[in-house]
């Protein structure tokens, strides 16, 4: 087997991203979609840190990963608040059913 290198991390990132994208595009459940988004963000983070480690040096990759984590937390909070609101309005979190624009 090969020694672990940048390509390995990229492969993990690619898989995470693909799975996240699948999750986002196929789920009907709003919470499921949010989970997919989290997967995609994690994939990006792995790539950031990996490139930062191998290709760039220094802390720059990590800084961006940290920003992504912070914004992901914010996104999760707001996204889930919206999901709860959605649920209270429609009594469902099936995104295919929440079609009406007016509250």
């Amino acid at each position: 087997m090969l020694h672990v290198g940048l390509a390995h991390f990229l492969a993990v990132g690619a898989l995470l991203f693909a799975l996240g994208a699948y999750c986002v595009t196929t789920r009907k459940n709003a919470v499921g979609i949010l989970m997919g988004v989290e997967l995609i963000l994690n994939a990006a983070n792995v790539n950031f840190v990996a490139f930062g480690h191998y290709s760039w040096g220094g802390i720059h990759g990590q800084v961006f990963a940290l920003f992504v984590i912070v914004l992901a937390a914010a996104e999760a909070a707001v996204g889930l608040a919206i999901v709860l609101t959605l649920y209270r309005h429609y009594k469902t979190i099936d995104v295919t059913r929440a079609e009406r624009l007016e509250g």
């Binding site: 690619a14 595009t25 196929t26 720059h60 940290l66 709860l84």
Partner: protein, 237 residues
Amino acid sequence: MIGRMLAGSSNPPGLPGGGRDGLVYEAKDLFGLGQLSDFLWYALAALTVGSAAGVAFSRNIIYSAFSLLGTFLGAAAMYVYLAAPFVAITQVLIYIGGVLVLILFAVMLTSRIRDVQISNGSLAPLPGALGLLACAGLLGYVGGSTPWHEVARPEMIDQAQALGDGFLSTYLLPFEAASVVLLATLVASVVIARRETDEEEAAGRSEAADRGGAGTPPGAVRAGGRAAHGPPATEEV
């Protein structure tokens, strides 16, 4: 073993000069297949990707949520391998301690206990799967075959301090912007939640009046009061 692993984590294998000086990292070829830390890495990568697959494919959303735990932990381990302990710890703290808990709450709050099967229904799985394969294949191929520019990394002594310096010097502007975003998030969440609470209260009041004064606690998620607002939604089973 742990010491070696940690030592290996700060000097990941596969790089020229990365711990090959024999001082802290002893290259050990197990079964002629590779080094211990490589095996460990593969195991953790499998955990990460496997859990992610669980998230993506599980029929039950609760299982998806718990699988997410594995993904986050695996990603944290990746960061440790990439000599980014601070990011790893932040990942554990925020993703697992914060985001995952939020998601679990959301799952619990939006699924009624009386629903026997907690659905995680999906649509069009076939094109999704095709997209998944194309995406993973293309990205993996590109990532694996591109000759990425690699540098000899300087020894990183005190990462937390370096990060702190970076945030308050080079990255001060995004740092401040992030703080603004967080504040906006906080306010937005409060606003969203509060408006709903008020409506619930109003609905609760009118309902209570209808029922002759038997009040229900405001803000509670109830099956009743549906008539007061929102369409008569069909239960998703």
